[in-house]
Structures are given as C-alpha cells and as structure tokens.
C-alpha cells in the first residue's frame, strides 16, 4: 500500500515554476507545476553537475537547469538529446488540489547523496 504524504497545495507552486521540498535525509526534491497544472517531482539535482532543478525555468513538460541550461524532462527526469543522463523521479498524486508524494520513495530514493546510489535507485525505479 502506497502511503501518500501531503506536501502542499497545487496553488503553493507557481504556474510554470517549482518548489523545493526538504527531506530528513538526502537531497531536496523539486515539485514542478506546468501551465496545465500538471505536477511532477524530481530529485532537485541535475544529472549534469547537480544544479538545483527547482530553480530552473519550466517550459512545456521540461525544466531547464539553472546552471547550464540542460533541458530535463519532468515526466522521466531524463535529459533531452543530445545530452544524456537522468535524475530520479518521484511519484506524485494530486487530489482535491493537494499534492502528495510517496512516503516510501521519499525515505528511500537518493537518500545517500552519492551519485552512484542515485543511479542505482533510478535503475530500480525504471524497472
């Protein structure tokens, strides 16, 4: 059973913007809101040089990393070609204007900040 943890209201995230979610352990999680009010969540680290994606510019269903302008897909956390690399993504549920993240994922995905760990987990998430 998935334990959904309430994070904020959709309206707490700016349209075409993001909020940063601090966790007890591990790097922050970024929650994004698109122009169509879809909400996505990724680890707040660009797969390139670890830039905080929550600070990037959101367009379509992508976010541009604020450091070197890599475009990262919000739905899969992967860089747009020709760049490559992915950052872990988190399950999101929106209900009644409230945004929820999966409690288990928050406790397990990329809690150890090392890149290796993040990638191993990413593979697990993808599988």
């Amino acid at each position: 059973m998935t334990q959904w943890k309430p994070i904020c209201r959709v309206d707490d995230i700016p349209v075409l913007g993001a909020r940063r979610v601090a966790r007890a352990q591990g790097a922050d999680v970024a929650v994004f809101r698109t122009a169509q009010d879809k909400v996505f969540a990724l680890l707040d680290r660009c797969p390139h040089k670890g830039g905080p994606l929550s600070q990037g510019l959101v367009f379509g269903e992508h976010v541009a990393c604020p450091l070197h302008n890599w475009a990262i897909g919000l739905h899969d956390g992967c860089a747009q070609a020709p760049d490559h690399g992915c950052t872990p993504r988190f399950s999101v549920r929106v209900e009644g204007g409230e945004v929820y993240l999966d409690a288990e994922e928050l406790q397990t995905i990329a809690v150890d900040d090392s890149e290796l760990q993040a990638q191993a987990l990413l593979r697990r998430v993808a599988a």
Partner: protein, 814 residues
C-alpha cells in the same frame, strides 16, 4: 482513429528529410507510403562526386538505410516510377500498376539533367550525371576507355571531369560560355580555375558550341559514341560523353496531372502547390517565388516548413534562401555568393595575386556586402556570407574587409582561425568543450547539414556563440562541400518563425502587453515557449510598454527571479550597490556583520569595484538583503551593473574632472535599468583612463574641456575597444547622451545582444544619426528612459512591487 494517408513521390534528399521532420513533429499522424524511381534507399546525392573520384564508396553515402523505413512503418516502393495521379479519387498509380490512396500527397521528384538536342545524343556511351546509375556507368567506362568529353563547364561538369580524370581518363571539357562556372564566378576567377585544372591535366574548349556527337562510323557498328564535334568543325575523340549542361525541375508528372508549373511546380510559402492544397512539393522540382533551388540547405528549409504544415501545426512559412557555392574538387578553394558580378550601382573591392593563385572580389552596394567571389583562399567565405545575409552596414569595416575576419581585431573566437588547419583534437567550442573531431564525426555520422543541427547534436556554438564562424567553416568543409546557408532571416528560436525584430515590431504595433498575448498573436508553436524566447519576449514587453506590460517572473532566469547570482554549488552571491564604487565605514560594518551572521564563506572585490558576498544560502537571501540595508546591485541581471570610476580631480594630482561624482550621477540616474544584456559603464577623470572606459558599453573620459563619450566597448568574450561617440561639456549632457544611446539600445537591441554586437549589426552611423544628429530624437529617447525608470522598485526593498515571489526562499517539508 483512422490515420491519414501520406504518399510521397520521389525518394530523394529533400523529400525524405521532410518525412524525417514530420516524424519528429507528429509520428502517429500518417500512414506513409514512398515511391522511388531508383532502386536504392535515400542517399546523399551531393557525395556522388567524391564517389566518382574514388574518394568514397557508394555504401558510405546512404542516408536512410532500409531498416529506417521499416522502423518508421513506411511502405517503400523502390524502382517504381509513378505515372499517374487521380486527383479526384486521390489515388497514385505507378508504372507497374501499384496504387496507393492519399489524403496528402508530397511531390519530391527532383530534377532531370538537361540534354541539349544535338544529333547523336542517344548513342551508347552518352550519359547524364545525376544518380548512382550514371555514376556507375562512368566508373565502368573509365575502366575500359581512354577518352572522355564533358559537355558543360559548370559545377557539375567540372566535378564529373575531375572524377573521370582521377580514374585515369583523358578528359576534355566543352563549355559554351566564355569562362568556366559563369553562374558562380567572374571572368578572372573562372580563368584562374581553368588554369589550375589544366595544370592537373584537364583540357578545355571554351566558348565552344557542341553541334553533334559522332558515332562509331567505320568499326563494327556498335553504336557507341566516338567523338564530339563543335561549331568550328573541330572534333574531339570521346568514348564517353557526359552531358552536364544543367538541370531542369522534373515536372513531367505534375504537368500531366494538371498542376500549375512554371520553371518548377509552383508552390506557396507553405510548400503547397497553388493548384491543389492537398498536394505539396519540395526540393528541386518546386518553384518558390520564381526560384527553384538546387542546393541542399534551402531544400531542407523547405522540408522543415512542409513538415510543420503536414503535421497540422500549419504556421511555418518558407520565405526563400540565399545560397553560396563551393566546388567539390579536392584542393581547389573556390567560393561565391550573392551578386558577385557587380555592375550598375555597385562598387568592387578586388585583390588579385595570380602568382599565388589568389583572387578575391567583394561587391558592395550602399555600404552593404551584396556579393563575394573568392578563389584560392576561401577561409573568410563563411564570414562574408554571414555579412551578406545579415545585410548589415560594413562601412566601419570597409578598409579591412578584404583582409578577412582575422584582421578586424578579433582574438580568436569568431572563426578566423582556419578551421582546415586545426588538428582534430583542437577545441572549437570552449564553452562546451567540443573538439573539431567531434564536430566532424557528428556531421558525417548523423548526416548534418545546417548550423542548427550541429548545435543540437554537439552543442558546439550553442552557448556563447563566439565560435559560430569556425563551426560554419568546419561544416562547409565536411558536409560534402555543399553546405549553403540558412534562411534570410533568423527565427528567434524553434518555437516560432518570427525574428527578434518582427516580435518587437508586433509588440509595439499591436500593443501586446503579456507573453500570453504575444504568443497567441504571433501563433507560437509551443504553448509555453522555451528558455530562449520567454526571457526575450518578457524583456521586449517591459522595454516597449513600461508600467503597462505584465512582467512574468517565471520567464526570467533564476538570478532575476531571486535577485542574486546562482553559483556552481547552488548557493548565491550578493553584491550590494555602492554608487560609483564609493562606500562608507557604516556600510562596511554592516557588510561585515552580515558576513558573520550568515556565515558567508567568501568576500571578494569584483572587477567592477563592488563587494561580492559569495556562498549565501537561498533561504538566507531575504534576511541578508534586509540586514545589508543597501540598494540592490543588480549584479545578476541583464541590466545596468556598475559604473566604475577612478578617484578623479578630487584626489588625483592628474585628474582633470570629478569622475567619481560623474559616476555616481550616472549610476543614480540609470540603476534598475533592464536591457537586452548586462550594461557596464566607467568614468575616468583624465585620459590616463584608470577606470578602463575604453572597454565598457558606455565609457566616459574627462578631458580639460569636458567629457568624451565612447560606446560599444566590451571586455568580455571578445575584447572590443569602444568607438568614440562624441564630446560634450557638461554633466547634464553626459547623462542625456549616454542615456539616449542606452535607450536606443534598449529599444532596438536583440535580447542577449551586447552593445558591441548591436552596434556592429546596425552600424555606428545609424546610432549617431539617432542620437547625435537629431537633438529632438535624443531628448525623446532620454525622456523615455527616465519614464521607464521612474518608480521602478528596488527588489530588495519593495518585494511586492518588484513581484518577488517570497515562497521561493522557503523549503516545503516532507
């Protein structure tokens, strides 16, 4: 849902590229069927010359192998020539009876060689030079026979002649015009080319009209060609005759089915035929605004536009291309573009050194470059072509124009270093660490033809753009030599076909006040734009309609959204404003207290004489601002940064003017000024110029009798010394002139264009005309700038008014 049916007639470069673009935009919209008359998958026709010359193999020039068609679910009919189209029932029929129904039809039948109607043209051993079959025939003939004649001394003919010669034949070129390649070269260059080809062993009959091809008369009636006869009666022995007298758009089928043709199938800007909007035509068979193109880059542009229309996005417009030419004969450097012949109303700059084999002609009209013809040294070809396409004034460069880009004070970035001489491991793009080898590999492996494609696949020249010229040169040298450039105007980004100027114009003309309105009005292709267009449009709105347009913080880069500079580790730096670089003990104490309180790791003095606090955590930013109690330094923004000063006459024993006071006045008048890019000023009290005013966007130098104003300097990527602008007497005049210049830049500059690039685009004369010659205009500009800045909030003090979203500084918790 039933998929629509797209049928394409022709399996060549332009057509298949159109399908590729379509699959990118709308992969599931159509069931696609392709008919190709040749038995091969799509190949790179441009590279037939190197194949003929034995430099490449046939299998190396395949662009889309059969798997590609399979993977994309395309029904491919090879070796089937389409002979009829029933436009009423919408059915295509091939020679062998194969039929296919369509909802949309794309004709890409290319061109056919023009065979002059001379007696003997049907003899065995007479070939055109168009496809793989022709190339194979020529290669085989070269193994068995000795003498070849090429009829036609144009681009294609010379490439054929060179290839046959490389394969061991004795080749004579019969050319009707007074010199070779008369469509691309002037007489001098044409004759130099002839000389150099003669030195390699080719023979020429120039100004010679072919009257007949003579068959095997006395030997065994094989019906094979034996000689070529020209008008004066001379005969040249020939076992192989290559007809390369030009190409004609292949409109046979189009005419048969009733499509209007006039030097090609006549199409609109959306590449639809004017007769039947369900039918499109692209490539060499199409006639757009009276022009049928024969070079690959314009054809790909057409393909792109056609694809957007087929994908039902329907907003792309093809508006024509300018083209340039290069000859693909190894070791011969030749480049021409535009109106290289000159004539009435034009001026020519010519450099001719026959001994060294170098000839260059530049044709100018009204201070603009309109044509170039280069022989022997084509290193600057892409630079000239760029100038030509941009149509900007070259009055400033005129005396150095001929000597190329390397001689205009560039320090090695805009591509003057000769791409050909670079080692494979040399870095071309310093921003993204891309080597020459990586670029060449991408061009070859991925079949890239345009600068945009190279940018997308390698990132070379995709950041600061200063290596663009160099990348273009590599592209020209690698992409089969037929690289020719892009559309006449440059679209702002992939989200639109409109240029920066067109977007600015629409915003002004139709009083567009928000990004949403602008996107809707100009039919943007993407709902929320991208990182290129959104910040640009946001700036244009604010600069055009101050106090009326809606600012969109989400369309600003993070620095402007959080009013601090993001650093590599995700922390921020804060630079408080110190007017003219002056500070006080109280300010320094406050800064020191903030450093202690927020444990700021680094304190540094910047290049612009301000104090930089580095390593501030984002959540601390609002408190840091509050505790500093100093105005915002805008050190992060596309806006006025600093006014650097020397100590001036107040303290300096040499100072002639009070530069610090002047600097403070300028900074107080101009701060909070957003601009297309960052703006830096400096004021020096005397010509010793301790504030380095010569490399600033606006530099002021005090002299005994007043102030000299310099504009367009740049200490950045490409060091640029500022132009002397004018000399004025009073402080008020300095403000008015400098302010008016900056307002003109704000109103006309493209987003992310520094003043030096703006000036080089519009010309210093234009700027002088608007600011110096016309006092009313100058005062109006200055008034508009003051109006824009009046009441503009300090984001560190008036959060609300500056629309700072304070939520961004707090983390949510999980």
């Amino acid at each position: 849902m039933r998929k629509m049916k797209l049928v394409m007639i022709g399996n060549g470069m332009a057509g298949v590229r159109t399908v590729e673009e379509l699959l990118k935009l709308a992969p599931d919209l159509y069931d696609i069927t392709i008919f190709g008359a040749e038995p091969h998958p799509n190949y790179n026709r441009i590279l037939l010359s190197p194949v003929l010359a034995g430099e490449q193999r046939l299998d190396e020039i395949i662009l889309n192998p059969l798997e590609w068609y399979r993977e994309n679910g395309i029904s491919l009919h090879l070796g089937k020539k389409v002979v009829d189209v029933d436009r009423r029932r919408r059915i295509v029929t091939a020679e062998d009876g194969t039929t296919a129904a369509y909802d949309r039809l794309l004709i890409a039948t290319g061109s056919t060689p023009f065979i002059p109607p001379v007696p003997g043209k049907d003899l065995e051993g007479v070939v055109a030079y168009r496809d793989i079959a022709d190339t194979n025939t020529m290669i085989e003939a070269a193994q068995r026979y000795k003498h070849a004649v090429v009829v036609g001394g144009g681009l294609l003919g010379l490439e054929a002649a060179n290839g046959l010669m490389r394969r061991g034949m004795q080749v004579t070129v019969v050319h009707i015009a007074p010199w070779l390649m008369e469509r691309q070269l002037d007489e001098v260059a044409g004759k130099m080319l002839q000389k150099s080809l003669e030195d390699r062993g080719l023979r020429f009959l120039i100004g010679a009209h072919t009257t007949a091809l003579i068959g095997d008369r006395d030997g065994g009636r094989s019906g094979r060609v034996m000689a070529v006869q020209v008008k004066d009666g001379r005969e040249v022995p020939a076992d192989l005759v290559v007809m390369a007298a030009g190409i004609r758009p292949n409109t046979e089928l189009a005419e048969k089915i009733g499509l209007h043709c006039h030097r090609g199938i006549v199409v609109t800007d959306t590449m639809q035929t004017i007769t039947d909007p369900r039918i499109y035509a692209v490539g060499e068979c199409a006639s757009h605004r009276g022009v049928a193109y024969g070079l690959v880059a314009p054809l790909f542009e057409q393909g792109k536009v056609c694809a957007t229309h087929l994908a039902e996005l329907g907003i792309g417009r093809y508006t024509g291309s300018q083209v340039s030419t290069k000859l693909k004969v190894t070791g011969i450097d030749l480049f021409s573009a535009g109106d290289f012949m000159g004539g009435e109303g034009t001026e020519e700059i010519v450099l001719s050194d026959p001994y060294a084999g170098v000839y260059k002609k530049l044709v100018l009209k009204d201070d603009r470059l309109v044509g170039a013809c280069l022989y022997g040294d084509t290193v600057d070809g892409s630079w000239y072509f760029k100038l030509l396409r941009e149509g900007r004034s070259v009055a400033q460069l005129r005396d150095r124009l001929m000597f190329g880009e390397s001689n205009i004070g560039d320090t090695g970035h805009q591509g003057h270093s000769k791409a050909a001489e670079m080692a494979d491991t040399d870095e071309v793009c310093g921003c993204n660490g891309v080597t020459k080898a990586a670029i060449c590999r991408a061009i070859k492996d991925k079949g890239l033809f345009t600068l945009d494609e190279v940018r997308k696949h390698t990132k070379a020249s995709a950041s600061c753009g200063s290596c663009t010229g160099l990348v273009e040169q590599i592209l020209m040298a690698t992409a089969g030599g037929d690289y020719s450039a892009a559309p006449k105007k440059r679209a702002m980004c992939g989200c639109t076909d409109h240029s920066h100027d067109e977007v600015r114009h629409a915003i002004r003309q139709h009083k567009l006040l928000s990004i949403e309105q602008t996107f809707r009005f100009l039919e943007w292709r993407t709902p929320s734009g991208c990182t290129t267009c959104r910040p640009a449009v946001n700036y244009y709105l604010l600069a055009t309609w101050p106090k009326e347009a809606t600012d969109d913080p989400q369309s600003r880069f993070i620095n402007e959204r959080s009013h601090a500079n993001i650093q590599r580790d995700g922390t921020y730096s804060v630079v408080p404003r110190m007017w003219g670089g002056e500070t006080t003990a109280a300010e320094l104490r406050r800064i020191a207290d903030v450093v202690d309180k927020y444990k700021i790791p680094t304190v540094k003095v910047t290049g612009g004489q301000r104090i930089d606090l580095l390593g501030v955590k984002k959540e601390d930013l609002p408190q840091v601002w509050r505790d500093l109690g100093m105005p915002c330094g805008h050190a992060y923004a596309k806006a006025l940064r600093t006014v650097k000063t020397c100590v001036g006459s107040e303290w300096c024993r040499f100072g002639t003017q009070d530069s610090t006071r002047m600097g403070k006045e300028l900074e107080r008048a101009l701060w909070r000024m957003y601009a297309p890019h960052k703006v830096k000023l400096a004021v020096s009290g005397c010509p010793r110029n301790c504030a380095e005013s010569g490399i600033k966007d606006v530099g002021i130098i005090g002299v005994d009798s007043g102030w000299e104003i310099y504009v367009g300097g740049n200490g950045g990527i490409k060091t640029e010394v500022a132009h002397f602008f004018c000399k004025v007497k009073t402080h008020e005049e300095v403000l008015e002139y400098a302010g008016a210049f900056l307002q003109l830049y704000r109103e006309e500059g493209w987003y992310l264009e520094r003043t030096c690039h703006y000036i080089s685009r519009v010309g210093l004369d234009h700027v002088k005309k608007k600011v110096l010659d016309d006092a009313d205009h100058r005062r109006a500009l200055w008034a508009r700038l003051r109006f824009s800045l009046e009441g503009e909030p300090d984001p560190w003090v008036e959060f609300d008014k500056a629309r700072v979203d304070l939520r961004q500084f707090e983390a949510l918790s999980a």
